[in-house]
């Protein structure tokens, strides 16, 4: 009974929000929420809760029905004004946002392969590694070390390429990764289903082992020690000074060059993610996207309908790989260091967990998944570890069982147990919610020539939801 009343109230509220008046209220509420949580973070700069509340505003923008223009404006203000200010006040937040964007892009790429096309790729991180090593090799002094043993210093201090070649290499990295994706796909895509998963896993390991061992006969990767330093693109001094005039009073301290670099990388990943989302949405709505869905649902039928399955799968591999490639280049420049250990199997599973948690095939879902897993990893687990440590030092005792906190083993460190978390997420999602937190929406395809298929994108269409329910039950 109670739930029914609740449901009715909820749906009535939803109907109200659909109206024009409701839309305005939604906008006001969202802006107010954003401001309040933003101020909370601004004044309680170390508070994890405040930051999580602030991040939740993204959900509000996504879920509350308001005109698309308002959504865009609110998001842009949040992303371009509020986050930079808060992020420079506490530089860790900027790092978190950077990683969220980075992993969103990776997850969106993997989503094309896993979610749209239904091919489980467990070696996705290999393409990321290819992109990272592309810039790492050309953007460092490695070219002068080809014939010396790993770990030796170059004879010259000059870099092989100017730093601003980074922008060109973002595209080179994309292209190289896409080519590697196609080269891998050609032999591998004949294999189906779970075999494909193992083979791609193998490919990921092959790339890692190669990165580890290609320090001989020619020293291409510097082996397990990794390549460093890698150049970052230059930030003009004049621009920095101009920005300082605006930013210094807002953040309350003199903004350093390192902080500007953090801001720069955040903005550049943001730009990439916008482009990626645009590309993915367009692809999903295109002939190619429909072909991918067809292959996922029933490959035999798709081929029978004249879809070139191998070509389409290769396209999926190449597009996904190119997203990872460009992010690899950005990652290499951001860290100024790459080593094979950054590209292990755990990373592939990390990205897979994001896709699964958010919802295979669902673009907002995947972004939510990436954000959630990144925040869990970087902040919640770390926060738990920290508070456990504080408890240990506090000398307190758990009341009922009379257990002193300081006797708790120092090995019980949640930050170290990512695998446990990822494993649990994967199992629980598969058993209870295989379609993810925000399931993919099945659009109704309009017959050719009919007007405005656009309004069906509206995410509160009840017909669509019913459809989606049916899909959930079926899967």
């Amino acid at each position: 009974m109670a739930t029914n009343t609740l449901k009715r109230t909820f749906s009535r509220a939803k109907d109200f929000l659909q109206t024009e008046k409701g839309g305005i209220i939604a906008i006001i509420f969202t802006v107010a929420y954003l401001l309040v949580t933003g101020l909370l973070v601004y004044f309680f700069i170390q508070s994890l809760v405040a930051f999580l509340l602030f991040l939740a505003s993204g959900l509000l923008v996504y879920y509350l029905p308001m005109p698309i223009k308002a959504k865009v404006i609110i998001s842009l203000v949040a992303a371009l004004v509020i986050i930079p200010i808060l992020g420079i006040r506490n530089i860790f937040y900027l790092e978190v946002m950077f990683q969220i964007c980075l992993f969103s892009s990776l997850a969106l790429g993997l989503n094309i392969v896993v979610g749209f096309t239904g091919l489980l790729n467990l070696g996705y991180v290999a393409f990321y590694a290819v992109g990272a090593y592309t810039w790492a090799f050309f953007g460092s002094q490695q070219m002068y070390l080809l014939h010396s043993i790993p770990g030796s210093q170059p004879a010259t201090n000059a870099f092989f390429l100017p730093a601003d070649m980074f922008y060109l290499f973002a595209f080179v990295g994309m292209a190289v990764a896409a080519i590697v994706g196609i080269l891998l796909g050609l032999p591998v895509l004949r294999v189906r289903g779970d075999y494909l998963a193992i083979v791609t896993l193998g490919f990921g390991e092959v790339i890692r082992v190669l990165a580890n061992n290609l320090d001989k006969p020619i020293n291409l990767t510097n082996g397990p020690q990794g390549i460093t330093p890698i150049q970052q693109p230059t930030l003009p001094q004049g621009l920095q000074d101009a920005l300082r005039v605006v930013l210094n009073p807002l953040v309350g301290h003199n903004v350093t060059q390192g902080e500007f670099y953090n801001l720069f990388f955040y903005l550049i990943t943001l730009l990439v993610i916008l482009v990626v989302v645009g590309v993915v949405v367009r692809l999903d709505n295109s002939k190619i996207g429909r072909a991918w869905t067809a292959i996922r649902e029933d490959e035999v039928a798709a081929v029978a309908m004249g879809i070139p399955a191998v070509k389409m799968k290769l396209a999926a591999f190449a597009v996904a790989a190119s997203f990872a490639g460009i992010m690899g280049v950005i990652f290499a420049a951001n860290r100024t260091f790459v080593s094979p250990e950054s590209f292990n199997f755990l990373q592939s599973i990390n990205v897979l967990t994001m896709v699964i948690l958010g919802g295979m095939g669902s673009i907002p879902g995947v972004i939510l998944g990436a954000a959630a897993v990144t925040v869990l990893n970087l902040q919640v687990l770390q926060g738990l570890s920290l508070s456990l440590n504080e408890l240990r030092q506090s000398g307190g005792v758990i009341p009922i069982i009379n257990f002193a906190w300081k006797d708790l083993s120092s090995q019980l460190d949640p930050a170290k147990y990512q695998r446990l978390l990822f494993g649990l997420i994967l199992i629980i999602m598969m058993i209870y919610r295989p379609a993810g937190l925000i399931p993919e929406k099945r659009r109704k395809r309009m017959p050719a020539g009919s007007e405005k298929p656009k309004e069906l994108d509206n995410n509160n269409n009840s017909a669509v939801e019913a459809n989606q329910e049916a899909h959930n039950d079926a899967s």
Partner: protein
């Protein structure tokens, strides 16, 4: 015509033994022949010259002198892989899905076995036991490990796989990956909570480390001692015993018949009065126990174990299972032996034959290369029958 019990018994014991012998001999002969042929072909080449310059021995002599030891090591490794591969192949045969977490079942067997041995050592039992007693304790630890692994496998199936049995194919696979990661960290958590370190070293006791010398081969002034460690003999013996035992169980008992019928057609099997869930649990129990035993054998051979130890052996054993024809028990044995030998050959000769450009570090990914080749050119494996593609 009804066979007598004795006839069945003998047939099911000697047939796998014969198969194993044939597999070992054939693989050994083929690989040795290929190596020797390569050595003859490369006579006088830069590779040959480099080796003569370094070790003052030519390629052919070097290869010939090293072959016996490489073969022995390959056989030992091959049996470890074969034992793990059986777990993959049995589950695949029954459920048609890759039990990705089998590598962690393997690790659990190793850890429980080694922990039991450490406890025994702490109790002062191991130090006094020599000869036969040491073997008895080892077998005891192995049984503990097998029990733990088998039960974990059953539990895992019940919790993470059974609810997903009718889901699309990728769903249980992703769940299995989740189980695999979960178990890795669970082992790490348990082990590091107790002692602060997450790796273990098997206690040294008995005479497992002793070497039985088989022959000495003179080579360029020094001699190569062809020998086999006691523990390698033990690994081979236990593995053969388990392979034969499993073969007997599956082919000659009522339980085996039920397993085979569930593998063939789950629905019809249940119509014939077979408790399908029970049989699937039994399959996981048997496969898990075999994996656990393999875990302790592996720990015995390589002494140090850690929670992530299962990953590469698992992948390789899976490759072995696919190579032999997944779902096929004899195939898993063949695949394991072939892969073990290939890997040892590559590890021993690759460095010399590529003049140091690539060496033993690439053996870990050799299995992947083989897996891709097998899947492309003969997806059903050496002994697999053509089955319809299941989407």
């Amino acid at each position: 015509m009804r066979r007598t019990f004795a006839a069945t018994f003998l047939r099911e014991i000697f047939r796998p033994l014969g198969q194993i012998l044939i597999f070992i001999t054939a693989t050994g002969l083929v690989l040795s022949a290929v190596m020797l042929l390569l050595a003859v072909l490369l006579r006088g080449s830069a590779i040959d010259q480099a080796l003569i310059g370094r070790n003052s021995v030519d390629l052919l002599t070097y290869t010939l002198a090293n072959l016996p030891q490489v073969l022995l090591d390959g056989i030992t490794l091959g049996f470890v892989y074969a034992t793990i591969a059986l777990g993959y192949t049995m589950v695949y045969g029954v459920l048609e899905f890759i039990n990705f977490a089998h590598s962690e079942i393997f690790a659990i067997g190793a850890f429980v076995g080694v922990e039991v041995l450490i406890a025994l050592q702490g109790a002062g039992v191991l130090a006094n036991s020599t000869g036969f007693g040491a073997y008895a304790w080892l077998i005891f630890a192995m049984l503990c490990g097998m029990a733990a692994s088998g039960l974990t496998a059953v539990l895992m199936e019940r919790v993470a796989y059974r609810p997903l049995r009718n889901a699309p194919r990728l769903v249980p696979l992703i769940s299995a990956i989740g189980v695999s990661f979960f178990l890795q960290d669970l082992i790490r958590l348990v082990e590091s909570l107790t002692t602060g370190q997450f790796y273990r070293v098997i206690p040294s006791f008995g005479n497992f480390e002793d070497r039985v010398s088989l022959a000495t081969i003179p080579l360029a002034g020094s001699t190569i001692n062809v020998s086999i460690q006691n523990k390698s003999i033990l690994v081979i013996l236990v593995a053969v015993l388990m392979l034969v035992g499993l073969n007997y169980l599956v082919n000659a008992t009522k339980l085996g018949k039920a397993i085979r019928s569930v593998a063939q057609d789950r629905r019809s099997a249940s119509l014939m009065g077979i408790n399908v869930n029970l049989i699937i649990s039994a399959t996981f129990l048997i496969g898990g126990a075999l994996g656990g035993a393999a875990g302790l054998l592996y720990a015995l051979k390589f002494t140090r174990i850690d929670p992530f130890m299962g990953f590469f052996p698992g992948i390789k054993a899976f490759t072995a299972a696919v190579m032999g024809g997944i779902g096929n028990i004899t195939g898993a044995m063949l695949g394991g032996i072939v892969l073990g030998m290939l890997e040892t050959f590559a590890g021993s000769f690759l460095s010399v034959y590529t003049m140091g450009a690539a060496g033993a570090e690439y053996t870990d990914i050799l299995a992947f290369g083989i897996l891709i080749l097998v899947l492309i050119f003969r997806p059903t494996g050496f002994l697999g029958e053509q089955v319809g593609q299941k989407a």
